[in-house]
């Protein structure tokens, strides 16, 4: 079973023979099972060399780096062995044809809205007004003729959706407006941190398939980010991230004391990150019986299955129907 490992301390990540070791600042040695590792998340400041990267490459381990503030900086991706020119050409064709592109963009958003409503309907008496507004707004998606128009609708829906958190959250976390880079209140800090974890989880699943992470549909393919991850993350942010946020706050796993406040900027502190990641990891490995596979599938694996469905759509096998949690 492949796992993810998170490194918060500063130190040195080292290859010794064919094993991976982490030495912290006090020279405490810890071995990491490279065979069973899928992703390494580095939040501390670490030294490493190319022989380590070679080892990671051999075992197909991705190394994700986060900066001091916990923002995603980049990934070391082992050489891509999953090459299918055919798939990439077909994926591109679905971007170039506006109608095909709109089909994809709408599908991602339909799933996103389905999962948003699913979250807030659980608190029905408190969120009824928001559910109604979002449902009204979502109806406009069908008739949208441009991606920009869709993005506008999505923005408004998300605004209402986050507003409803004020009615759901049991602690004193207030949502006024979405602020990023930097987040200006604790809730925004949680959302940003959770979303960046989601983004890397999606990226690492995409890399296990033949999809090209730069060709996206809802988000404009860009040079700075793997925008297909952003597209797919739309589906999984409300399904996984927001659920973890709500449960962290309502179960008092994370409280105000888990944040650092630095001139107008609010960030999760180390203890806060650890607590969040623990919940996040548990959620990702939670399983659900899959209706078609007749197997138990983890939340993480649902991301992979979504990638497979995209490939099937692109190669003309099975039209893409986005995930809509049924459980």
């Amino acid at each position: 079973m492949l796992r993810d490992h998170y490194i918060f301390s500063n130190g040195r990540l080292k290859r010794k023979d064919n094993t991976l070791y982490f030495f912290d600042e006090e020279e405490n040695k810890k071995s990491l099972p490279v065979h069973q590792t899928d992703n390494l998340y580095v939040f501390g400041e670490i030294d490493l060399n190319s022989s380590l990267l070679n080892l990671l490459s051999q075992h197909d381990v991705h190394l994700h780096v986060f900066n001091y503030y916990g923002f995603y900086a980049g990934t070391f991706c082992p050489r891509n062995k999953k090459v299918s020119g055919f798939t990439v050409v077909q994926q591109s064709a679905h971007y170039l044809d506006l109608e095909k592109r709109l089909y994809m963009a709408k599908a991602f958003l339909q799933s996103a809205v389905h999962h948003m409503l699913r979250n807030i309907r659980r608190y029905k008496e408190k969120t009824e007004q928001y559910v109604q507004v979002i449902e009204e707004e979502a109806k406009k998606m069908d008739s949208a003729t441009t991606v920009q128009e869709l993005m506008g609708i999505e923005g408004r829906i998300r605004q209402h959706y986050y507003q409803s958190f004020n009615a759901i959250l049991k602690q004193d976390f207030i949502f006024e407006k979405r602020t990023k880079q930097p987040p200006q209140d604790p809730l925004n800090a949680l959302i940003s941190f959770g979303n960046s974890l989601c983004y890397t989880a999606v990226l690492s699943e995409i890399y296990k398939t033949q999809l090209d992470p730069t060709i996206s549909f809802l988000h404009e393919p860009s040079t700075k980010r793997f925008s297909l991850c952003l597209d797919l993350a739309e589906i999984f942010k409300p399904l996984i991230v927001d659920v973890v946020i709500i449960s962290c706050i309502n179960n008092r796993i994370i409280t105000q004391k888990h944040f650092d406040f630095l001139d107008g900027m609010v960030l999760l502190n180390e203890e806060g990150k650890k607590r969040f990641i623990k919940e996040w990891d548990e959620k990702l490995s939670t399983t659900v019986q899959h209706r078609k596979l007749k197997r138990k599938v983890s939340y993480r694996y649902f991301i992979r299955l979504e990638c497979y469905k995209l490939i099937k759509h692109f190669i003309g096998d099975e039209p893409y129907k986005p995930l809509k949690a049924w459980w």
């Binding site: 999953k82 090459v83 798939t87 033949q210 596979l293 992979r304 299955l305 490939i311 003309g316 809509k324």
Partner: protein, 165 residues
């Protein structure tokens, strides 16, 4: 040029053949595939002629006198394995080399001897033609549930479908 694996997949599942041929490979994480790879690496330590690449197109496991050898984990797909071997023998014959084949199912302590007959040659030629036709079609053959689907590396890919709401 068709590869041995393609010939084997042709007999197992045409959809798998198409996907594999388009570079949509699912094998590298699959446990059974890793097991098979290790088996191949460790097979025939005493033979010198191993892993022989013929014309940059297909790879023979090992050469042992008048025999071409191949190891397999199980005999569940023995008909497909036989076709793969017949294909090698056919291609070698075209190049003026007459051999016979041995397929070893080591776990089951069973070995099968394969000889290329004229009838087999016709079947192989027909298969090659059909493989080209399948590989050149624009989309994969439709999903068809086979009894051994759940054991396949493509199972999750093929059955990643949404149910009705």
């Amino acid at each position: 040029m068709v590869s041995g694996v393609q010939m084997q997949y042709y007999k197992v599942c045409k959809r798998k053949l198409w996907l594999f041929s388009k570079g949509i490979a699912m094998e590298d994480e699959h446990e059974r595939v890793i097991e098979g790879k290790i088996l191949h690496e460790r097979a025939y330590p005493r033979l010198e002629d191993r892993e022989i690449l013929v014309d940059d197109a297909f790879k023979l496991d090992a050469l042992d006198g008048e025999y071409i050898r191949e190891v397999k984990l199980s005999s569940k797909m023995s008909e497909a394995d036989r076709f793969q071997m017949l294909y090698y023998l056919y291609e070698l014959k075209k190049r003026g080399v007459q051999k016979k084949g041995l397929i070893s199912y080591t776990k089951e302590r069973k070995t099968e001897e394969i000889e290329l007959t004229e009838k087999d040659e016709v079947a192989i030629e027909k298969a090659i033609k059909e493989i080209y036709a399948i590989v050149h079609s624009a989309s994969p053959p439709k999903l068809k549930k086979l009894p051994y689907c759940t054991k396949c590396a493509y199972y999750e890919f093929c059955f990643a479908l949404e149910g009705d709401d």
